[in-house]
Symmetry: C2
Subunit: 461 residues, 2 copies
């Protein structure tokens, strides 16, 4: 297939409404939420397949024309992975958005990649089950969640996307359709290609179906706010809360600036007395979810005793209205940071015991480069989200380099859940072991020998 | 390097006591516990490296001589993966058996591959932490657990090996040393090669270090025995126990023959009244583990009500001595089956709702081929362990073919935790999608282009 023929062939194989080019392409389906990646370019076409067979046809035709493919879910990604590229085909999965099945006895759901987190959890209302992975943005698609290995606030108890995906249907760049995994929680029957594709940012295969493990909803819950004088004091109590077997569903910290900004944006009054607020250096937010009300009472009492003995300034069990609103406000932290003019948002992950020293060094690094960082994060996981204020590109690049290098030096990783994408391409490649990059490139070639799936990204390149 | 030089070079690079050949090789370090794989052959040599650098040297020398490598932990595998092969080098990790570090605040342990499950859990006594994956055989090594993605009885709550391994140090066939992952529970920073190597049965890389996630020990526990008239009735209650949020640590079934055999072998008297035993068709064993005694009482009461309403013949909370002994006896089921003359043990996994129909069909399949099956298994996971009695090789092969095909037809997998190994090589390849096998072979080549790591196995070939 020649490039020139490609559009005509795609239109013939799908339908005219599913293949758009030129002015028919809407600007809003070309981008994502990255603050720093190169702006999206006009692609050769945007296709909206409705079936796996159509995805396979698109892949086959694109490959025979040597044209790159960029898969896209809801465009809520933060790293520029799903941005349209010049001369490529953007595969928009918005019309593959059916919940195909839910098994109440196996606790398994099978969904198409365009299904959103909100849609899935609304579908599950009344079943006693939920999909417990909770990245802040509920309009995110499951296909996108798989490709970034999305995490979020519930990871401290429930893990991240990879702990809940049991199987995938995949289309390779050459149009081959494969199934990996099965609706079972354990297998030792060949390489786990499901796990390999999770987090691969669309560079290995196009995901056309996802088999998910669901969890029972715990009916009792309480959101607890615990102010500490210092972040060091806060971080020291975190492993003790986990080690006590309290199994918190969320374990978040917010620095003063972030707490002030997100509560103000959401119009929440937490009711912390002025004298406590004045002494506070960081806030811990704990969500407890239990099977019974008695157990919740007991867990709250034990949590209060534990944090009280370790320097908490106080403990507030938020009301059933304020608690969820605070969590929702925390989810919106990205938007608040964006509105405040943050130049980049990073999500370095370090061993949780090293969060305080990492944050102290991050502040030093920012100051050294004439910038500023502020944040919040999943302190139970060591995953810190920092808004970076450093408008000048050269200084920002140097600042980010040092932030990532400091995380790696502490045994961490550059991104806990946002992905490398296009944003961090150069720094990821600069800071990674060349032998590891070479192996990843060989794995990429095993799936996609012509290098046509998301070749603009840092992973697999 | 010529083959003839290889022994001399290995001995020079390591030490004479670490490189054995000919009569110096002990028969007991050549095999594993597979009942059906081809017998181990005399290898070219057995090496016992003590450091990662020595492993890298062994790999480099073997590769330059074109000689295959077979990694070996404790030899407790059930699929023939670790059996010595003629003309190959057996890499015995017994001397790389140090627990390198335990972080009480991060809940992370770093171990060498020769560390056994027993050794690790003894090391953790008093820390309040444990490594919760519990395949029956505690002499198994962590390196072996990684290579088979070992599961076991606690998987229903805690998942399997892959849910607890955060990172690996690997030696590729050419001697390249790499680190994957990090001591953090979430990452979206490149392909998850940790997860790819887990369950790869030594065909991709040699594992020289494992970073593990630990869990808090729950101090209160009770083992509950619940007889049901039929396995169908037992299986129907399983999803309800999970959906109720009771979070059982084990959820096992035993058929009558298996329960009788394992309790008799262990000398346990369960105290089930004769009239109940006479009406029983299958036993459910539930382990509950909680943070507080009150919670355990409440969970036991709710469990009793739930199973009582669903046809349980009775419910026995076993004593603190009998409970652990029954679990230990269940762990020994493999040895009891072996002593009883089982010709093969399989561990097909199916969606848990399909366990009763699968077991009914398995009985039919066995009868059709003039054989017999009996078993027990992880009913919470759909992972059934069947002892196969069928002494004639041709009939056994046909019987196994039909058992595996029936599992696959129900959305399952050939092996939940034992692996494909050498045992199931032919049937695995016969029953798998050729496109999936071809992709796996390309992934294998990305790691091991000359095909020198465990080339006798079914996976990656």
């Amino acid at each position: 297939v020649q490039r020139d023929d490609l559009l005509a062939r795609l239109t013939a194989a799908l339908s005219p409404t599913q293949v758009r080019a030129g002015d028919a392409v809407a600007e809003e389906e070309l981008g994502d939420e990255s603050l720093a990646a190169p702006a999206p370019a006009r692609p050769l076409a945007v296709v909206r397949p409705r079936t796996t067979a159509e995805v396979a046809t698109v892949a086959r035709l694109a490959t025979s024309a040597g044209v790159a493919l960029v898969p896209r879910g809801s465009g809520t990604g933060l790293s520029g992975a799903a941005r349209a590229q010049a001369g490529s085909i953007l595969v928009n999965f918005a019309e593959m958005n059916a919940v195909l099945s839910v098994s109440a006895s196996d606790h398994v759901a099978v969904v198409q990649p365009g299904v959103t987190l909100r849609q899935l959890n609304e579908h599950l209302i009344g079943s006693g089950l939920h999909y417990p992975v909770h990245p802040g943005e509920l309009s995110g698609s499951l296909g996108g969640n798989v490709n970034t290995n999305a995490g979020g606030m519930r990871a401290v108890r429930h893990g991240v996307t990879r702990h809940h995906v049991l199987g995938l249907e995949l289309v390779l760049a050459d149009g081959t359709v494969l199934r990996t995994g099965a609706p079972v929680v354990k297998s030792s029957s060949g390489y786990d290609l499901t796990q390999l594709v999770i987090g691969s940012e669309g560079t290995l295969a196009l995901v056309t179906e996802v088999t998910l493990r669901l969890s029972p909803v715990m009916p009792e819950r309480a959101t607890v706010l615990v102010p500490f004088a210092t972040l060091e004091g806060l971080a020291a109590v975190v492993p003790e809360v986990v080690a006590a077997g309290l199994e918190p569903s969320m374990l978040e910290y917010l620095d003063l600036l972030t707490m002030s900004a997100v509560t103000q944006a959401a119009g929440i009054e937490l009711g912390v007395p002025v004298e406590v607020a004045a002494a506070t250096g960081a806030y811990l937010v704990v969500l407890l979810e239990t099977r019974t009300a008695e157990q919740l009472e007991r867990d709250l009492a034990d949590l209060a005793q534990l944090v009280g003995a370790r320097g908490a300034l106080d403990l507030y069990v938020l009301s059933a209205t304020v608690g969820p609103r605070l969590i929702e406000a925390r989810e919106r932290a990205f938007w608040v940071a964006k509105a405040a003019g943050a130049d980049e948002i990073v999500d370095v992950v370090v061993p949780r015991s090293r969060v305080p020293e990492y944050l102290a060094e991050a502040a030093d690094i920012a100051a050294r480069h004439g910038g500023f960082v502020s944040g919040c994060g999943h302190v139970g996981d060591g995953n810190v989200h920092l808004s970076v204020f450093a408008p000048e590109a050269g200084a920002r690049h140097a600042l980010l380099h040092d932030l990532f290098a400091a995380g790696l030096a502490r045994g961490g990783q550059i991104s806990g859940e946002h992905g490398i994408g296009a944003d961090k391409r150069e720094l990821y490649r600069h800071l990674s072991d060349p032998a590891l990059l070479a192996l990843q490139a060989r794995v990429k070639a095993a799936f996609d020998p012509r290098g046509l799936l998301n070749p603009h990204l840092g992973v697999g390149a």
